[in-house]
Symmetry: C3
């Protein structure tokens, strides 16, 4: 039986899971603040010297390659090993994997290491699935719908839940698929919001039985908080801090009530 976004948010706030975030330098602060506002305990422990040891005490791990480097990759691999050794889930965010050979290679390698969830924009999902994308640099230029077939295939190939995020998100584990709405135009003008959402997927994964439910829960919370905040913001700067306040104030029952979740059609076996 699946766990609703509200069930998981309730559990998240009760358990305050430790979430190890190996993420980029732009995203660290906002990711930490989003996780704190949601109820989790973020820790940016990334060095290979300790990342594996730390992963053994964390509830979940997230790996984001936004500011990719060899030391960062070594730390990620150590942490992934650590997470696997204690049966904890990890989430991959293959930022701009279509942009350079280094990113394409790193993302392909990491996606083979059994992530529980991959969260990315449509251009990144297309690229990761080996298809042509129209992404420019770090910008996704492809619509979510253009990446749905690639997402289903990637889900089956990697065993991960795939979240393609954009104006309306698409989540699939290869067998099921849902769409999640909500959010705000201002989110696209706040740096690292997608990276923070990846962190939130980790927080939900730490308390969920099924990474599919975790992904839906995290995306639903982001969407509801974004929709609510949209009303009161008149620019990206004011949106930024109000989004944190709003996210912190979302109650589990309201999350289930306001979440915009719909079936995305049957997937042929």
């Amino acid at each position: 039986m699946s766990q609703s976004p509200g069930d998981l948010l309730d559990k998240l706030r009760a358990e305050t899971p430790l979430v190890q975030c190996i993420t980029n330098y732009v995203a660290m602060s906002v990711t930490a603040n989003v996780l704190l506002a949601a109820g989790a305990s973020p820790a940016m422990v990334a060095d290979a010297e300790e990342a594996g040891e730390f992963a053994r005490i964390a509830g979940a791990l997230t790996v984001n390659i936004g500011t990719l480097s060899k030391p960062m990759l070594e730390g990620a691999r150590a942490a992934i090993d650590g997470a696997h050794s204690v049966g904890r889930p990890w989430v991959l965010d293959p930022v701009a994997c279509q942009a350079t050979a280094f990113r394409a290679r790193a993302s392909a390698d990491l996606s083979g290491l059994k992530p529980a969830i991959i969260r990315a924009n449509a251009s990144e999902i297309l690229s990761l699935a080996g298809e042509a994308s129209q992404g420019q640099g770090v910008d996704g230029r492809d619509g979510v719908d253009a990446a749905e077939e690639a997402a289903r295939r990637l889900a089956r190939d990697t065993g991960a839940v795939i979240a393609v995020t954009g104006r309306e998100d698409y989540v699939t584990n290869g067998a099921r698929a849902l769409r999640i709405g909500g959010g705000s135009h201002w989110m696209t003008l706040n740096t690292a919001m997608g990276c923070a959402l990846t962190g939130l997927c980790g927080a939900f994964a730490a308390v969920a039985e099924d990474p599919f439910d975790a992904t839906v829960g995290a995306l639903a919370l982001f969407g509801v908080a974004g929709t609510r905040t949209h009303e009161s913001a008149s620019g990206p700067g004011g949106f930024g801090w109000r989004f944190i306040d709003t996210l912190h104030g979302v109650m589990p029952a309201a999350l289930d009530y306001e979440a915009e979740i719909s079936e995305a059609g049957t997937i042929a076996a």
Copy 2:
């Protein structure tokens, strides 16, 4: 004769001391903004190639191991040597030293290098003093009072002023001890507030005759600004920027008037 928090704040704003902050990637921006708001001039110079040279022109140095790595440690050691060579104080923040062997070792080594002040939460102080802590990852789970005896011992062993921060802070140099109140629940949901406070201890240490007074002054200012801001914030995001505004607006005389400082009992010789 001791210098009051207000005396030191006045001096800080008059002298604009240069404070070299070797800190973690999550904390850099908020630390810089807290120091600027207080009246200091922060500089995040951390590479071993120049950290020692820079420390010779700085008024104080702070070292925070939040995102620990070998290059960061090399830079810290060079900077500490530089600070000592010109008789300037340095402040240690042993983030999550209980969480991994790498952190425990680095913190033990650094605490042996004559820091003027060590600022940490109770779990970190307990761990640094060689006692069992209940910290989970980067979260302190021990109450301040559980670490008071350890703090006094650590003060005597290292020669540093120890600040155990939490709901009510405890400051001791092994001979004297004070408690500092104030603050806000929202501070615990803003990432890197403790790290920024470490930076502020450095700023006060740069202008104080006694690191004990410096620590009390920095903690008092943080507490007063936190208490004042609490009223007007309805979430962690709004608290964050309002705290900076409030800190900037605290006048020296008001600081002495509003600071919640009390004796923490006599310490047996």
Copy 3:
């Protein structure tokens, strides 16, 4: 024929140029948010493994040495090569180049690699031009006017447009010179505003025919947004997010109307 700030802002918003920012850890988030608010697409790609490849798809590159290290320098050199190979401009920000030998050397080396624009405070420009400065650490303590002669000489020596920013900015390409006013006292208490402005120079350079016009456009937009925001802010924290909102809302025609640009006298041949 020159392009006005409004012309360039219009072009910027229409083209959303990809701007590769190799910048310091303190500045990354605010730089990204300023560029997003202005209409550009920032990407913090800095590792030598991919920085050169990425520069070949970016519209412009910016290099800021705020948290200088050898790996950062290697990445910058690779990116500069990449930018030159496709004829794209790059912008240098020699943060605190007067503070250490490492910075002085790196800045001198980088300024010889044909930057299109160098943006810095007066102390940095004086130091880069080989003259004595009164800078303390990362703080410029020299007035803009003290660096005007050095700026003209540096422009002729490096071939770059030089922007000396401060209370009133001075821009020269060695043959022409303009002053740009506007801004707010609160900008000096927000960390990394100068670094973000360097990023904005990159964004304007990506769409401009002449880097002189690009520099004037970026400085004019920053000045107008700063002046407008000054009214509504009562501290540095509130200024920070409101500045982003204001910058986002500046319309091209209003920019040309409100920009405070004046001739800075004739330069002798």
